[in-house]
Amino acid sequence: MIVTVTLGILLSLLLLSIPVAAALIILGFSIGQIFSDFPLYRAIGEISWSASTDFILLAIPLFVLLGEILLRAGIAKRTYTALARWLAWLPGGLMHANIATSAMFAATSGSSVATAATITTVALPEAERYRYRESLFAGSIAAGGTLGILIPPSINLIVYGFLTNTSIPQLFMAGIVPGIILTLLFMACIFAICLFKPEYGGVRQEATRAERLSSLADLVPVLLIFAVVIGSIYTGIATPTESAALGVLFSLGLAWQNRAVSLDFIKQVLEGTMRTTAMIMLILVAANFLNFILDSIGLAEQLTEFVNNLGLSPFKTLMVIILLYIVLGFFVETLSLMVITIPIVAPVMTGLGFDPVWFGVLIILLIEMALITPPVGLNLYVVQGVRQRGSISDIMKGSMPFVGMIALMVLLLILFPDMALVFSQYVD
């Protein structure tokens, strides 16, 4: 009963294009009024204040800031050029650089839109110049952009940790191995396609050894930031929020060294950061209040009981959940999808005995898929938006092989759960 009402209200508000944060709050108020005798809405001030001052959440604005600094300092371009020199000789050429650059940027910032947009800007002119098949080329950028939410530091993993009270250092460590494997799967997929259908790849370029060696210097900054951020978490020197602060200052130093820092640069970085931060935090504060309401009326318990009464085995339930995310992922924007579903689904799955960290990684993989499946795959539109010619269906087709790779990765993660848990057991 509650579930039907909840879903009914929420879906209609969202489809009416009501801002997600407002939709969550209206839902919270209505549920509170209908199912509780207490005036729960009166707690909104206290609850919002405590969510707004949650030290763990501070990692989100700081990682956004870190990413903004790196992207606007032109470091993405240098990284791309360097990786192209190392990888362009492979069958599939520059497409490997698309994936690898995305993965490296994923390792420093959490925004897939910014990463995908930046890499499209740098890479797409090359596709034309060297006569790549544009659909697969653009698809590789869209797919590469999704790596950002799996490879730590990832804002989406922080959101999952916040909503489910799961350790964020553990989630970060759990994202590393699946992130690397997925990157390799993407590259293997490009390799295989271009081996059998060379017309998909472009004119092969070879860089000289000297060019390659000199480009190494351009890879150092990004690797250093990854080392600072993830290293400080792994060794226990810093919490995720603290490591983000270290990363911000470090990247600012790099931008300074790149002679990118100016008053205009700072203004743009701050504006970009606030735009993203305010958007995310408004939704999280609202989602947190909705969670409080759902907790108060005991929705999670009811659902868990309901699922138990269905008599499905844990494995079958998992399949249902995966299917649910794939279908919802076609239509719902990803951050909204996460804040709406995770508070309800995660307790049920943990109750069935699944590891919360492992499940977090699984959810993130499904969210990645949602980013590149039509009709509402944000990354597809970002790439098309920068491309500004041809049809978006080219990019949808070009992304299909990568959707397949993500599905394969989901399967691997279910068969070998240790992939996610191998590193996470060493941190708190």
Partner: protein, 207 residues
């Protein structure tokens, strides 16, 4: 009432956003100093995390209005995009009205949070004994500013609809188009000698 107040409000919100972003930068410095002192010199200043938490609340509430004028608050536009223009206006108005209602309630109860701390002299249950009303006042001001921004935008949109100026109304309150979003994301201020693969890759082909 006329719509020229909106650019002015946008400017004010931009300045508030710079302040909010500046607070975040300072927070990074504070936290970094704390981590270094703690690990290298094993001294703890204590309280860096507490102050940073307040800073985040204030910073975000200062950024909400700017995000509104920049159309950054997420709306799901699958159905919206397929609607005729008239219906889009209705949805725009409803969106602003609902967001405004939420923020009015939150601002009211946010003010109460501040007021209770202020009148009771509540301090944080930490070594710093921070008088909580100080950060809460700044946070509440940000919330009220956001509410005001929504009211202004809603009035300006209604006003231009009354004048049958549908274009202005859509520009003010319509959901963000992807083109605008990408333009903001890829604005690149670097003037370095980075070996850009090709000159035309600079500005993402934006006109």
């Amino acid at each position: 009432m006329n719509t020229s107040i909106i650019p002015a409000a946008h400017r004010v919100s931009r300045i508030a956003a710079w302040a909010g972003g500046g607070i975040l930068l300072l927070t990074s410095v504070l936290i970094t100093v704390e981590v270094i002192l703690r690990k290298v010199f094993t001294i703890s200043m204590g309280g860096a995390d507490e102050i940073s938490s307040y800073a985040m609340a204030v910073s975000c509430s200062f950024g909400f209005a700017f995000a509104l004028f920049q159309k950054a608050h997420i709306r799901i536009d699958v159905v919206y995009n397929k609607c005729p223009r008239m219906l889009k206006h209705v949805l725009d108005i409803a969106s602003l009205a609902f967001l405004g209602a939420y923020m009015a309630v939150l601002s009211y109860f946010g003010f109460k949070v501040f007021w209770v701390s202020f009148t009771k002299g509540t301090t944080a249950n930490t070594p710093l004994h921070t008088p909580l009303w100080i950060p809460q006042l700044a946070w509440t001001i940000g919330l009220w500013g956001f509410t005001l921004a929504i009211v202004l935008l809603l009035s300006a949109t209604l006003f231009s609809l009354l004048k049958k100026d549908a274009q202005t109304a859509a520009a003010l309150a319509g959901a963000a188009t992807l083109k605008e979003e990408i333009q903001k994301e890829t604005a690149d201020t670097s003037d370095t000698d980075a070996p850009a693969p090709q000159e035309s890759s600079e500005s993402g082909g934006t006109p």
